[in-house]
Point group: C2
Chain length 169, copies 2
Amino acid sequence: MNQPDDRQQSSQNLALEAAVSADEPFKLETFLPYRLSVLTNRISRELSKLYQERFGLSIPEWRVMANLGRFAPMSAQDVAERSSMDKAKVSRAIASLQKAKLITRDQDPKDNRAVLLNLSNEGRRIYDEITPLATEWEKLLLQGLGTDEARSLHQIIDRLHRRMDDSMA
Amino acid sequence: MNQPDDRQQSSQNLALEAAVSADEPFKLETFLPYRLSVLTNRISRELSKLYQERFGLSIPEWRVMANLGRFAPMSAQDVAERSSMDKAKVSRAIASLQKAKLITRDQDPKDNRAVLLNLSNEGRRIYDEITPLATEWEKLLLQGLGTDEARSLHQIIDRLHRRMDDSMA
DNA sequence: CATTACTAGTTTCATCTGAAACTAAGTCAA
DNA sequence: TTGACTTAGTTTCAGATGAAACTAGTAATG
């Protein structure tokens, strides 16, 4: 009746276990990439309401604007790098932002392939409207943490990025 | 062409700004939801190679398997809740896993709408092959952090989830 | 029981997505 | 110069996505 379950052998049988926990069951609920992903998607979904519902901006569109608001003039390539979005996505976001007249697109005099992106006046107006809301939202979220933890989180993110740079890719 | 941009003051001026004032420019590069999203997408993309390239599993498919490996038998609904994926996505992942014979799908005797999901033998075999690799990968990633930081990160994730539960949605 | 409301899971639809092909422009080297 | 190579950005294509409609079964109320 009781089917033998040999997939997880009791550790007595395995005197020579490697230290690396081959017999420990995999715990999804503490698997960090998974946890990060669940949390982040949740946060993104919620936050995106802020600019989707009220301003009709998609996430990629908002990201382009957010980058331009801070670093314009930039090329599409610059935006893609800074935002970790692929260039097709950036290209599409740029196209629709231009159609909505929220950004301007001028030829780069130094490189005829490239394009100089800026927020339009209207784009800047919207940017100036969204950013305080975003900041406010973030502040609300971070009230779940102590300032030490918030700082710590930033540091951890830095370190994980560095780790990815070095050893994971 | 080049409009003067008086909204974004050159950063030298800002060293002494009051902490929270409304006139501080929005700093995308320290905006936490954005940073989390960039990092997480990067991690997910990289990690997913582990089960995509070698086992042909998509991210949703692997998530379903990971949940079943740990908590089966479960309904599709259970999986959706646990993994924070919407039910359509789960449904599609289940369909393709069943086609690949990696899971079994039985009627729940207590509720004819619901379905009892389990890993098949083959599914379990693959699960048992992937999980040590995933664990290993995670360990590699976490070598960027001290154990204190890793623990702290888990706690921070918990707190942010709680914060979302309470006040953000 | 009926009627109504709800839940599990699937399907449809319009949109979004990433990868790769593509166009056009710049660079390099002989 | 020319040709080979690289880069910026767009487009194409096949597949993935989320929202909402839908089907079928369950629960709650009278």
